[in-house]
C-alpha cells in the first residue's frame, strides 16, 4: 500500500461521506431552501475530493488539467442552478417563512413594489427584481 493509494482511499471515502450526508439532508430537511444547502456538499466538496483522488492516483498533466476543467465548470454551473431553484421556490411560495430568520428579498420587494401590483395580494410576485432602480442585480 503506497502513500498515493492511502491518500486516494481517504479522499474517496470522504467524497462518499459527503454524498451520503447530502442524501440524508435532502430527506430530513423541511423545505427547498434548506435542501439546497444540503445538496451543495457532493456537488462541490465531494467532486473536489474525488478529483484530487484521481490526480493523486494518476499524476499526469492531462488528467490534472481535465480535473481542473471539470471543477471549473461545476463551480460555474451549480450556483446558477441553486440561484434559479431558490428564486422560483421563493416566487411560488415553496419557502417555509416561519423558519426564516431574515427575509431580505421580501423587504426589497416590499420597498420597490410598483403601486399597481400591490393590489394583487401576491407577496412573492414583483416584476422588476433583476433590474432595480440603479440597475443592480
Amino acid at each position: 500500500m503506497s502513500a498515493a493509494e492511502l491518500t486516494a482511499g481517504v479522499l474517496v471515502v470522504l467524497s462518499a461521506f459527503f454524498s451520503m450526508a447530502a442524501g440524508l439532508g435532502i430527506v430530513r430537511f423541511p423545505d427547498v431552501l434548506t435542501r439546497l444547502h444540503a445538496a451543495t456538499k457532493p456537488q462541490v466538496l465531494g467532486l473536489a475530493t474525488v478529483l484530487l483522488a484521481i490526480v493523486v492516483q494518476v499524476p499526469t498533466w492531462g488528467v490534472a488539467t481535465t480535473a481542473v476543467l471539470v471543477m471549473t465548470f461545476q463551480l460555474l454551473t451549480q450556483p446558477m442552478t441553486a440561484h434559479m431553484l431558490g428564486r422560483s421556490a421563493y416566487r411560488t411560495e415553496h419557502v417555509r417563512r416561519d423558519l426564516l430568520i431574515e427575509d431580505e428579498l421580501g423587504r426589497d420587494i416590499a420597498e420597490h413594489a410598483v403601486p399597481d401590483e400591490l393590489d394583487e395580494s401576491e407577496p412573492g410576485a414583483e416584476p422588476e427584481e433583476t433590474v432595480g432602480p440603479e440597475g443592480r442585480m
Binding site: L6, F18, S19, I26, V27, M71, L85, P127
Partner: protein, 90 residues
Amino acid sequence: MTFLTVVSIIAGVMFGIGAIAAVWRIIRGPSILDRALATDVLLAIGICALGAEMAINQHTDTLVVMLVLALFAVVGSISIARFMARQDAS
C-alpha cells in the same frame, strides 16, 4: 483484501445510501422543485461515483464523461425553475 478494496466497499455503501435517499426525495417530493433538486443531487452522486471508481481502479477512461456531465447538469434544473416561475419578466 487490499486497502482499496475495503475503501471501494465502504464508499459504495455510502454512495448507495445517498443515491437511495435522493431517489426517495424524487418520489416523495412535495413540489417539482424538490424533485429537480433531488435529481441534481443524484447526478452529483453519480459523477462522484464515476470519479471514485476511476481513482480506485487507476484509469482515466470516464474523465471525459465527468466533464460533459459537469457541463450539462445545469440544463434540467434551470429549465424546470424557469418553467415554475410565475411572473418573470427577465
